[in-house]
């Protein structure tokens, strides 16, 4: 497998004639962390949401390759789309846990694409799913919290549950949309540390949208800089210079 994700000519227009993503090409390898940086409103979030079709792309091809075969996500509908979505885990800025469900139920949400409806309804998940959910809760450092309600957790704890939920899908690809923007600096580092470690252990490639350039350089093996819906930098963290940042974010007084 050369690439887990191959995006060709991706364009998204929320308003006709005003593209947020402009004919974008991006290839993501089968492993490691890719950080996408860029100013607010430049289409980073839209790019991630096009990949799992929470946002409908206007044009282009999004090819996902993995254990489940190779498919063009942009063309899928109905059941096919659901089967593709379960191969892509997502971690959200505001965690997006179902507040009124328990931590365990939230983690098991990651299996909803796999188990029949009656099992989900009666909470009769297969043994190995339960075992994996407990293993993931141990791995994210929340071994005692399975039966607590999600709204009783702190921000950092919630994001750990979010990561466990995404990995519960056994995804071919992990998307993280500003996973640390709602967290304090120390918790941000802890959460990113954990995400990096677990994704490496599972062999899942990760795409992270991130505002913090220092954190991006520290954890990513590759940085993609976006400006006005196009990629204007793509390379290893060492290659990212002030000049690139100036072109990505505009201006220079802030540097």
């Amino acid at each position: 497998m050369s690439a887990a994700l191959d995006i060709r000519g991706l364009t998204k227009e929320y308003v006709r004639g005003k593209p947020v993503l402009r004919n974008l090409d991006l290839s993501i390898g089968a492993e490691g962390i890719t950080a996408i940086i860029g100013p607010s409103g430049t289409g980073k979030s839209t790019l991630l949401r096009c990949i799992n079709r929470l946002v409908e792309p206007t044009k282009g091809e999004i090819r996902l390759t993995g254990a489940g075969g190779s498919i063009d996500i942009a063309k899928l509908r109905g059941r096919g789309l659901r089967l593709a979505r379960r191969r892509i885990g997502m971690v959200f800025q505001e965690y997006n846990l179902v507040e009124r469900l328990s931590v365990m139920e939230n983690v098991l949400c990651g299996r909803l694409g796999y188990v029949p409806l009656w099992r989900a309804w009666l909470r009769k998940y297969p043994e190995q799913d339960i075992a994996r959910a407990f293993a993931l809760l141990d791995a994210v450092g929340l071994p005692e919290h399975a039966t607590r309600r999600a709204d009783a957790l702190s921000g950092g704890q919630r994001q750990r549950v979010g990561i466990a939920r995404a990995l519960m899908q056994r995804p071919d690809l992990l998307l993280a949309d500003e996973p640390t923007s709602s967290l304090d600096p120390r918790t941000s580092v802890e959460v990113l540390e954990m995400l990096t470690k677990l994704a490496a252990a599972e062999g899942v490639p990760v795409i992270i949208n991130i505002h913090n350039v220092a954190l991006a350089k520290r954890y990513a093996k590759r940085i993609v800089g976006m400006h006005e819906g196009a990629i204007i930098f793509d390379g290893p963290p060492e290659a990212l210079q002030d000049d690139h940042l100036r072109r990505i974010y505009g201006g220079e007084d802030w540097l």
């Binding site: 659901r82 997502m90 959200f92 505001e94 846990l97 179902v98 507040e99 949400c109 909803l112 694409g113």
Partner: protein
């Protein structure tokens, strides 16, 4: 800069609300007009009071001699209320979800909202009369009428509750590849379940009240007994029935209050 400045032009801190003033005057004028039209004078009220005194005197002491008739009617009313509430809730769950504009496309939510609005628009006694004509006398018509009333109330409130949920949680569940039903089960219902139970309890409360009245138009329950007692001028029996109804409603309020508190 000199001290002898011109007086500053007076600035108005609040814009005058001419529209509200005109509306207020129109309302007062209409109230005066309507009360003269309906012969609501003081004299009419005072003669009425005298009649009321005689009526009240005949109501005491309450007469529980025919308690078997009373009990039979009350039991039927309770059955009507419980059946109608459960039936109404079962119908309201899917209807409320279909009516929620954040989950359903407009061509589903529009017609469903219209249907719910129709259920609400007619008073349940009028609906009961229609069902008595359509289904014949008896409790079936009462249950049907109160189901319609329950749908009109619970489905509307439920749809509004669903429209207020956090779509972020729904989006997260959807992104795992869950089917539409699984998204409802895990992303939507947990957010509205406790409110839905609250609406159901409230509706049971009000159906208990309503079920005592549908009998007046022949749709079963204690209302029929009450109406017959009125017509025969058995005012002491009337007061016995009214006291029993009040007791039942207070009891229901107490029980549902306990349940609500237990759910917090």
């Amino acid at each position: 800069m000199s001290d002898a400045t011109l007086p500053a032009p007076r600035r108005t801190p609040f814009a005058p609300e001419w529209g509200m003033r005109v509306l207020g005057l129109l309302l007062i004028a209409y109230l005066i007009y309507a009360s003269t039209q309906l012969d609501l004078g003081l004299g009419r009220f005072i003669t009425g009071l005298g009649e009321g005194g005689r009526f009240l005197a005949r109501m005491f002491p309450p007469n529980f001699e025919r308690w078997e008739l009373l009990l039979e009617g009350m039991i039927e009313s309770i059955q009507i209320a419980v059946l109608a509430t459960v039936g109404g809730i079962i119908l309201s769950l899917p209807l409320g979800l279909m009516a929620a504009r954040n989950l359903s496309p407009w061509w589903v939510s529009g017609p469903v909202r219209a249907f719910i609005a129709v259920c609400r628009s007619l008073h349940y006694v009028i609906v009961a009369i229609l069902f008595v004509k359509a289904l014949g006398f008896g409790a079936l018509a009462g249950v049907a009428a109160l189901i319609v009333a329950s749908v009109g109330f619970v489905a509307k409130l439920f749809a509004e509750a669903v429209e207020e949920i956090s779509m972020k949680q729904v989006e997260a569940v959807r992104s795992t590849g869950a089917s539409g039903m699984a998204v409802l089960l895990y992303g939507v219902l947990p957010q509205v379940a406790s409110r839905f139970v609250g609406f159901g309890l409230y509706q049971l409360d009000s159906n208990l009240r309503n079920s005592t009245l549908v009998g007046v138009v022949g749709a079963g329950g204690i209302g029929g007994t009450l109406f017959a007692a009125f017509k025969r001028f058995d005012y002491d029996f009337v007061s016995a029935i009214l006291i029993t109804i009040i007791g039942l409603i207070l009891l229901a309020e107490l029980v549902s209050g306990r349940i609500r508190a237990a759910m917090q």
